[in-house]
């Protein structure tokens, strides 16, 4: 599992490549843009091929910490396997989910430029 971060203005794209489950969530949680609660991130899941409840829990924890600090966690490019996990758990209700990373970045940029 690999994480790569790309900065687009005030927003950081965090691409998660591989699998996100019990043994790999700590990698995600060590990523600088995830650690910083004030940093708004788009988590790009295009290259994530497996997510279970441990991985989802790490994303929800990230969302909560960032919202508490006034920042956001947006999700982009889920495949059908990932979407299934979001749907069963209702997680799509608390996350902003985008089909497209650049649309997510645009939206996140608007959010961060609010006074």
């Amino acid at each position: 599992m690999t994480i790569s971060e790309t900065t687009k203005g005030r927003v950081t794209i965090v691409s998660v490549i591989g699998t996100l489950e019990a043994s790999t969530t700590k990698e995600l949680l060590k990523s600088p843009a995830i650690i910083d609660p004030t940093q708004t991130v788009v988590v790009d899941l295009e290259k994530l091929n497996f997510l279970d409840s441990s991985g989802l829990g790490a994303l929800i924890g990230t969302l909560r910490k960032k919202r508490e600090a006034g920042a956001e966690t947006l999700i982009s490019c889920m495949n059908d396997r990932i979407r299934r996990v979001f749907e069963i758990t209702n997680a799509q209700r608390i996350f902003h989910v985008f089909d497209d990373t650049s649309a997510a970045v645009d939206y996140a940029t608007q959010l961060t430029s609010r006074p």
Partner: protein, 139 residues
């Protein structure tokens, strides 16, 4: 004739992916042996996800012993059905444990919900201090 694959793994989280990938492969084998539609990703993914959750729980809630105990997973092939069984000697629990309310941002508690949703039948029996979790799905 029923066929059985048995996999014994060290009871460590780092082996969860080994377990779930093996489950996906077992599901794909059943699909192929039935000449069923291999593009039905939901069947394969159901086993991959359910085994990831069940194995992780078995390890996460294991009694803290000096060294982790091995975890054994059985894959039982019937004509059109695959059943996965995992045993552990953890504390008893209810397979019907409800998931938490998503609006509270819970970071855990979704494993059994996912298992129940993606499988046809899920049971957990307690026998002589052992939890026997059985998860089964028809093609």
């Amino acid at each position: 004739m029923n066929r059985i694959i048995t996999l014994t793994l060290p009871g460590e989280l780092v082996f969860a992916r080994f377990a779930s990938e093996t489950a996906a492969k077992a599901a794909l084998m059943l699909i192929n042996s039935c000449n069923a539609d291999a593009n039905d990703w939901k069947f394969t993914h159901a086993f991959e996800l359910a085994v990831s959750e069940a194995f992780t729980n078995t390890v996460a809630y294991a009694q803290k012993l000096s060294s982790p105990q091995p975890v054994t997973i059985d894959f039982i092939f019937e004509s059109q059905r695959l059943t996965v069984t995992i045993r552990d000697t953890n504390a008893p629990f209810s397979i019907e444990t409800p998931a938490p309310e998503i609006d509270n941002y819970p970071e855990r508690g979704f494993g059994l919900l996912l298992i129940r949703n993606v499988m046809d039948t899920v049971t957990c029996v307690r026998e002589n201090g052992t939890n026997i979790i059985s998860m089964s799905k028809q093609l």
